[in-house]
Amino acid sequence: MSDVILELRGITKIFPHPEKPVIANDHVSLTLRKGEIHALVGENGTGKSTLMNILYGILQPEEGEILLNGERKTFKNPRDAIAEGIGMVHQHFMLIPSFTVAENLVFAFEPKKGMFVDKKKAAEIAREISGRYKLHIDPDKKISECSLSMQQRVEILKILFHGAEILIFDEPTAVLTPQESEELFKAFEELKKAGKSIIFITHKLREVMHIADRATVMRKGRVVDTVEISRSSMEDLAEKMVGRRIDVTTRKIANSDFPPEKERESVLTLEHVSSGVTPSGEQLKDISLKLCKGDILGVAGVGGNGQGLLVEAVNGLLRNIKDGAIAYEGQDITHSQAYNVRRLGIAHITGERYIRGVSADSSIHENMMMGPHRRSPWSGKVFLHVKKLRELTGSLIRTFDIKTSSPDACIMELSGGNIQKCILAREINLAHDLIVAEEPTRGVDIGSIEFIHQQLVDKAKAGYGVLLVSTDLDEVLSLSTRVVVMYEGEIMGEVNPELPDARSRIGRLMAGVQAS
């Protein structure tokens, strides 16, 4: 047995709450070996992040101890943890948007020349360290102009710069595309070779199987088991997590369920749509699409290739459409604003969950009312029908099995998966016959993923058109009736997901290789 570098023993964390305290960690124990990649998995809200925050000194446990190389340590704040060689990349990045990459990298540990920060030295450090771990960054770029994956690389380099031996990653791949995840895993291997130990949290079991040496499964604040990946399977892990068997990858929809496309009405058509360039350099180029009722049209592609703009264009959030036409059920909506589009009954499950998807300071009820608040029977011309709206929220919470104490709880008290379910419930309820689903399962545990997928499939079967935009190829393949691939703002081609070699075909299109 290789030597243990870190041991957590009997960690207990209780969050005070006026009514009922939350036991986030209940006597959790975990060991990390030197040079291993250790996955931490579990449903939303089981206390994974909490445990890692304790390890990193952000939170203090009520009980339990941390042993580093066999020695007892207490971390009063992250600085203590950093000093002991622990680094953490958080679920939400902790970078400063107006600073450059190099400045962020050295933040709080700046090299100095006299009294001043030595920016040149900082850039040098950035270059050197990025070369050493083969993680590409551009030291002089501002963070606000960097892609998410670049930001993540900055975060990783930052903790390496701090001299971390143990690296903690909280859902590093949630915001990354499969390609970017692949790059990240290459970096993991690189780090492993350099003798670093890694703990990473994820909801994607495929990744666990692919990269991890061992995995610890948590459920409801407790550790269920720690397994050697080589002696385990995905189904096995899933069962340990959720407590029941889950069907992880198989296709959920069959094209044969639907009449041929020609016989079906189209809901959404895009003709030669082009847009101006956004500050981040994205653009739509001559997009033509047709979505029929009953279709789930998957849009695959590496993130940042214009899928986001496509969704915005359909939903009236994109202001700079230069050319082309978008029609919904024959009605032109090219230059309509969101408030016009929304009235037509287009549902939009947004990918920007915390930016657009919810009002963070409001209750679940208030978040669920957005949309119904202007529709009969939940609202009149001027006044809301308060009782009906409450009934609606109640019934949505029940049908979508949203775990909450009350509809008046603040939405941010929910775990990520439940917040996503709220958005989903609201939008599916609003849809007339078109659902635009953008990354519907990002950061959501597998139990919830299954549920969400089922909802989308059910809706398609009920005759809704679904536009599914996702960077998760598994998701696109298992749900779509048709798949198009976007690359640099263009549609590279269409692939039938039922073909046996669909995955590799899509992969080639995603890389910008035109289908022959």
Partner: protein, 300 residues
């Protein structure tokens, strides 16, 4: 008429009127960078003004007056910090509250400290000397930069110092990070509380100097509410410039000069009300270029 308005005298007056604005606005800009929209500048300045006279009168030295002014204003700003940072008050209401408190407490203290009411004016109170800059004072136009008291020069120095502090030093990085993403500090093991108090201290020093300028820099007196809304104009300058120090400084100085022009326009036949509107109207005009900028942002 034009030569009266655009004379060296106007420039000189403008620089003098700009000084309290400039100092407060610089302090406010640092606060704003650190994520605190501070509208209590007026109150800190008033407290500074009062204690400036106290120090100068009782310690018989204008310099001691400046020190007491700064000390008192820093205490006030730390108290503000306590309510903002640890007691989690609403910054706008706290600002209103501290401004009210400053007027009240200085008004009240006039009694026990000076035995007077409403104002304290004793010609024996030392005030700051004017300092001439040897070579400068002989060059036309530029000589308006000479012949001010030490606080004026300090305020100009503060532009550079604060700019360098914010953009070149490690401390400045932390202050700016505080405004953009305070969590970035805590995950790096830094205490946000400490830096937030530090920022309040900086604004306290700046406003204390501004207050001292009003009471013993230019006048050697204290009258109730003598800041007369200058702190609010400073807040406007901060907002207008997005707390970018060079722009903040420019806006404050322009304000001062606009005020000086307005003063020169007195007695030219324009109704006073309209003369007094000039600085405010000017601010609005300065905001208008933002329209096109924002349009570009939205539609590009």
């Amino acid at each position: 008429m034009l030569e009266i308005i655009f004379s060296e005298h106007t420039l000189m007056t403008g620089l003098s009127l700009a000084t309290p604005l400039l100092l407060c606005a610089l302090g406010g800009a640092v606060c704003s960078k650190a994520g605190n929209f501070n509208i209590a500048l007026e109150g800190f300045m008033l407290i500074g003004a009062f204690f400036g006279v106290v120090g100068s009168y009782y310690l018989h030295s204008a310099f001691a007056g400046v020190l007491t002014a700064v000390l008192a204003a820093v205490l006030a700003s730390l108290l503000y910090g306590l309510f903002l940072i640890q007691l989690k008050g609403h910054e706008v209401i706290l600002g209103f509250g501290f401004n009210m408190f400053a007027i009240a407490i200085t008004g009240w203290l006039l009694g026990p400290v000076f035995g007077g009411k409403g104002s304290f004016y004793d010609p024996a109170t030392p005030s700051l000397e004017k300092i001439n800059i040897p070579l400068l004072q002989d060059i036309p136009v530029l000589r308006t930069l000479s012949g001010h008291n030490i606080i004026v020069y300090l305020s100009w120095l503060a532009i550079a110092v604060l700019f360098i502090l914010l953009y070149k030093t490690a401390l400045g990085y932390k202050i700016r990070a505080l405004g953009e993403n305070p969590k970035a500090l805590s995950v790096n093991g830094l205490s946000t509380v400490k830096y937030r108090y530090l920022v309040e201290m900086i604004v306290g020093v700046a406003c204390g100097l501004a207050g001292a300028f009003l009471s013993i820099g230019n006048l050697s007196m204290f009258t109730e509410n003598m800041t007369a809304g200058r702190g609010f104009i400073a807040v406007a300058a901060v907002g207008f410039s997005n707390a970018y120090i060079p722009l903040t400084a420019l806006a404050s100085i322009l304000f001062g000069i606009a005020n000086a022009v307005a003063i020169q326009l007195q007695g030219v036949g324009m109704p006073t009300e309209f003369v007094d509107m000039i600085p405010y109207a000017m601010t609005i005009l300065m905001l208008l270029p933002a329209i096109r900028q924002n349009q570009k942002k939205a539609y590009n």
